[in-house]
């Protein structure tokens, strides 16, 4: 499996994402946003965390207009798996590959800590190695992760089962206290209709090894690698 980690000026999670893919035996390359046309040589496209263009207008807004995003859209339209983490999720929303928007955390502060999310679906290419309803401990680190969409969109997301990760407490319940940013319905990650574009605020790539505090993120990358190896 060969993944492209697309980086923009101000991305800073590119390195971690590349390491995570390599840790589970995949191959990953960092692709600078000015390098057009190369994504078709990859099996998956990953958009890393960070502060593209400083997040100075809205998180992910300027990056979403970078020409390479046309390639990312084409890759996604062709059914290729696209994963956006944190700033990557924000960029996918701004690029309309995913519905809704990520606005400022309700408490108006950056939140950096471990949270828990529940796996709402283990039948996506990104989650097959998780158990359904498994509760994961994974770090978050963001100031704008408060997921918002209009009512109709939210209903559609829930109705179609497109919420993939939800913030929960230790017992696996989506409570107000376990919601770190005010996101609607405790949404931490969603997938597109076709099931190949996933956006999530938590950082699985930072939960790969016990020495870092958790290994719960690893299965996301093993899922991706094994599903791509199978389909190849």
């Amino acid at each position: 499996m060969k993944a492209a980690v697309v980086t923009f000026p101000g991305s800073n999670g590119d390195f971690d994402l590349r390491e995570a893919v390599q840790w589970v035996g995949g191959e990953a390359h960092i692709v600078w946003h000015r390098e057009r046309g190369g994504l078709k040589n990859y099996d998956a496209v990953l958009l890393p965390g960070g502060f593209s263009y400083g997040d100075y207008l809205r998180a992910g807004a300027i990056a979403s207009l970078s020409p390479i995003m046309e390639d990312v859209v084409a890759f996604a339209k062709a059914g290729g798996p696209v994963l956006g983490i944190c700033n990557g999720f924000q960029t996918l929303c701004e690029a309309r590959l995913l519905p809704g928007a990520l606005i400022r955390n309700e408490q108006l502060r950056f939140e950096g800590r471990d949270i828990r999310v529940r796996v709402e679906r283990n039948d996506t290419v990104f989650t097959t190695d998780y158990r359904q309803a498994q509760v994961l401990a994974i770090p978050i680190a963001h100031g704008e992760g408060n997921y918002e969409a209009d009512k109709a969109t939210l209903e559609r997301l829930e109705g179609d089962g497109r919420v993939v990760f939800r913030y929960v407490d230790a017992r696996g319940e989506p409570t107000e206290e376990s919601n770190p940013n005010g996101a609607w319905h405790n949404i931490a990650g969603i997938i597109n209709e076709a099931g190949n574009v996933l956006g999530m605020m938590p950082h699985p790539e930072r939960a790969m090894e016990q020495i870092l505090g958790s290994t719960d993120g690893a299965a996301l990358f093993t899922s991706l690698v094994s599903s791509l190896v199978e389909s190849a």
């Binding site: 800073n12 971690d16 502060r109 950096g112 020495i211």
Partner: protein, 744 residues
Amino acid sequence: MTPELVADHGLSPDEYERVRRILERDPTLTELGVFSAMWSEHCGYKNSRRLLRLLPTEAPWVIQGPGENAGVIDVGDGWALAFKIESHNHPSAVEPYQGAATGVGGILRDIFTMGARPVAVLDSLRFGDLDDARVRYLFGGVVSGVGDYGNCVGIPNIGGEVVFDRGYEGNPIVNAMCLGLLRKEELITASATGVGNALMTVGARTGRDGIHGATFASEELSEGSDESSRPQVQVGDPFTEKLLLEASLELIKSGAITGIQDMGAAGITSSASEMAGRAGNGVELEMTSVPTRERGMTPYEILLSESQERMLVVAEKGREGEVKAILAKWELEAVEIGHVTDDGRFRVVENGVLVADIPVLPLTQGCPTYEREGVESEDIVRLRHTDLSEHLIPEGDLTKTFLLLLGSPNIASKRWVYRQYDTTIRTATAVRPGGDAGVIRIRGTTRAVAATTDCNGRFVYLEPRRGAMIAVAEAARNLACVGALPTAITNNLNFGNPLKPHIYYQLREAVLGMAAACEAFETPVTGGNVSLYNETDGRAIYPTPVIGMVGVIEDVSTITRHAFTASGDDIILLGTNTEELGGSEYLYVTADLVAGAPPAVDLDAERSLQGAVLAMTRARVLHSAHDCSDGGLVCTLAECALGDGESPLGVRVKLDDDVRPVGVLFGEAQGRIVVSCDPAHSEEVLRIAALHEVPAQKIGKVTAAAEGFSIALRAASVSASVAAMCDAYFGALPRLMDTPAREI
């Protein structure tokens, strides 16, 4: 040149005479500005240089000692660690958010200009008491400034301190420390070698911000300074910094440049003249070539601007295009503004017309240095000799006092602070903030580096020499607790006005104490920063020599954390309990008192203690280790029990010392560490302690949280529920800070 103008530039009549002798004529206004900045306390260390010479700076593992942008030590396996601490106290007092943010930006640049990739930030902060609305505003602003900047650049925060005490009212302390890793052969220095090589500015454009910042940083704040210092606020741009960081590391790797320096205090002036000075060369700069943000800037303004996110590089002749191409990839500018000369002069021209012409060495090294008179203040002598015996007799319920202390902002969890920081980016943080020291693993090796910042300003205030020794000892103890061998320090001397004899006394004594402790622990000083004139309306802050210490862990599997891990474990206390209450948080909280002598510190005993704990971590017999500091033994045990709040445990301890309860519980005796271990390993722990001649006693057991927290002493006891402790400890800062009213 009027005497007023000279005085406005912070130069004394004698110093002005010296300028005239150096130039053999009157300076122009531009030249006066240049001297003023370079001979400010900030750049010239007028009042501290002679004292700094007293510090030990050498050891076989020191690759770069003081004098460069940052110190560098060898950490094994071909890796080197660059690290340094820097203050931004005055800017933060005026504009907390930007002041703190630009402080972080500056220290990051000091690290990556050594060729090192920044891997961790720490922040050491001090404010007045939190019941004051202005203090809450400063604290909130500083924390978000530190956070937003580091988060955006993508450097994890791994520790720091926050202290609240009236002693810092009006004059907060904001010190930021950065660690960077590099391969030993990648080290680059800031020197302008190669006559004819081009000088290029890279990064952001030059604006009018921060002009006179260097002089400003060396003057006391007074009532009016809010108004007058407005134009001096610098705005940080962490996005540009991130690009500059990547571009600089790429530039250094390319070999197209021979030297690089951050434009920090005194901007182009200091970077160009210092780089020339180090190489024994001169420079010539053309002002009209400098890319500016605003039209019509004068040479004076351009030379002294402290606009952020700029660097000066020396490009190998003929490779300027390569430099530009690398910067362009990162969407930044690189512009030639001059070249290296062989005549040892700092020459500035505007459209070819000479506007400044100064010999480099007298400018960079000829700043007069002073040895001032130092006399201890009688008031402090009296304070130190305050009789504290009445405070050893408990007033009221000890459990209540314990909970009060646990919820005091100084002891309470700083989670509210470090949750605003990204602590996990770069996937190398093995110990996050909240423990004794932060730890960053070195990928591809079994090694890690650890870092901590420490200083108890009350102790230094009450007895500067001993207080400074304690600061170094505590830092080393903190490192030993995570399993790191203390290796070297950087330090930030935050003091009042050194022209006052009792302040100079504090400064000299503190440096002597630091020197003695660093000798004892073999932790040389590789750099630091001096921030003087920290006074508001004539009242100085507590003398606060913040110690930033780094250590090395050879095997990451021996890393130890501060929280208890399993019910049923034995709790063992290393070190000896005493009745010392001087300068304690207990006195501050219960009696509103900062008095008495700081606790005794025995450097040999400290060294043995650290050796013992390191041996224990290496033998992998410990489940936890935590140093005893603010709040005494009882607060230390509470911190061990509560951890980060995710899975707190209980404690059952029985103490048998022949010491009065208040002393044992709340006294801040030095040289103590609380460890826990599987009962099967207790013997081994006690044996290792004995081997190192460290007193050790089994004092109790870790229990389930439901069993609560209880400490029995001979004649007294403390007992609290874990829930009540969590509420006090984790709830304190949110309760104080999350009230909506935030007045400016």
